[in-house]
Symmetry: C2
Subunit: 280 residues, 2 copies
């Protein structure tokens, strides 16, 4: 079974890429589970027809409240099969204002494994959609505990998305278990200037010891799909955008050797690399 994690700053397009990637993998005949690991709990919204599904943590809190434990949870309370056949899970977050959101994500992942979710549903690929703005000890737990085995960093042409990705690469280097988890690649979710993005993100990915795996164009079709809560492959199966996600799925399945990244230490070096390619 492959465990693939999508990290990147807030609003960069993690959920959009995760949902469309899940769909393309499903089309290849694989059994796919997408696990939202963002307290916003909206990772699987496109897959679930616009619905925000119940979360593992809120279901767990219900059981705790009546004196039971995680083994009282039934898999059908926390795993929802979308019309497409993809299995959807949302970790959820803590009660607002208390507890550790990152720790909560880990708890949710541990519940899935204690309840043998992957085995029960015969899952081939798990896609984890993880918040990447805060690279704290909490949110790095999926890496530390070996869940996020093949990690993709989502970037655009904006400097802050590269800065966030470099920080995540620092966490991967510090926490990944040799041979088990690592950086699988960088994916560009374009903010418009594809020429600039290809050059600067290829250089960034290579500096990390990895590669720019694919570029997803900025597209009104992708935006429209979100409003309709459908993936691009369901909404416009013949479109160029649908083909982009099919190609991404092929790249991801072929690319099974994650590396320990070599992040850029100093922010001034990161800025210098970035400025080099800015149009004069």
């Amino acid at each position: 079974m492959r465990q693939i994690a999508i990290y990147g700053k807030g609003g960069i397009g993690k959920s959009t890429i995760a949902a469309n990637l899940s769909m393309a993998l499903k089309e290849m005949g694989l059994r796919v589970m997408q696990v939202g690991c963002d307290p916003k709990r909206d990772s699987t919204r496109i897959l679930a027809g616009g619905r925000l599904i119940p979360t593992v943590l809120e279901t767990f809190r219900e059981e705790l409240r009546i004196g039971k434990d995680e083994y009282a949870i039934s898999l059908k309370d926390i795993i929802f099969q979308a019309q497409s056949g993809i299995y959807c899970v949302e970790s959820g977050g803590p009660e607002p204002g208390i507890g550790c959101a990152g720790r909560g994500v880990l708890t949710a992942l541990q519940i899935l494994s204690d309840l043998k979710a992957f085995e029960t549903y015969g899952i081939d690929v798990a896609i984890y959609d993880v918040l990447g703005d805060v690279v704290c000890g909490g949110f790095a737990m999926p890496i530390r505990h070996g869940y996020a085995q093949e990690i993709y960093l989502i970037c655009s042409g904006g400097f802050m998305s590269i800065y966030a990705a470099n920080n995540i690469a620092k966490a991967i280097r510090r926490l990944s278990r040799r041979g088990e988890t690592g950086l699988a690649g960088v994916i560009c979710n374009s903010s418009g200037d594809e020429q600039f993005e290809k050059v600067v993100l290829s250089q960034f990915a290579e500096a990390l010891g990895s590669k720019l795996v694919h570029l997803v164009p900025r597209s009104p079709v992708i935006q429209a799909c979100e409003v309709e809560s459908r993936t691009v492959l369901e909404h416009s199966p013949q479109s160029e955008e649908a083909e982009v996600f099919r190609e991404l799925a092929r790249q991801v399945m072929d690319n099974d050797r994650p590396v320990i990244p070599k992040p850029i230490e100093e922010i001034s070096d990161l800025e210098a690399m970035y400025r080099e390619h800015l149009p004069k």
Copy 2:
């Protein structure tokens, strides 16, 4: 001295509003300090001419590394006066992958108060720009410890921004100290459909026991200012957008009675309220 905090989901426009509000307050003759409380450390970028200033936490770590403590930090190492005269601070975040980012923000705020930053610079208004995607115990610390006294929630017409704001309101209710901290209001940073936003955000704000304080239009001028790393008031002082921020500053200064919010308990009720106003 007024301590005003801006909370909201990632990418909603917190830093854009914070920087332009700081500028408008400065124009009113007030001495203003903006403190970025987001590990991305880009809150004061527009104010500092595109530069990412050194953070409190990285400066603190340097001192710790050579066996010193926070009192070895000199204020001029962590507080930078922009050309506009506004004082800029970035809390920064932990070393990636370890430690608690929220706890780090609190540490940075405590260092500012231990070093008597507000007294030394004669600050009238402090603006805290705080990450609101993760409403964990860590990021709620500025509320719990009485720094975030007048809290503004930034929303747009998108449901997820309202969902995030409602979660922050839950944290405020749980943690705010009666009479000291509370919800001061909702600010709309429009995503385009102002008609819909005014209706749904007024209802949401009133349900919380507060009000919709102001609406900032979606505008290419505001976008252009970010690219040039200048506030709207510096870039286009006579523009309608500049006047919007001047009005916001007046509203904020007049509005000094924060409330303990009454957040909407169930997500289904929040969705129902939202759907009521959607165009049929």
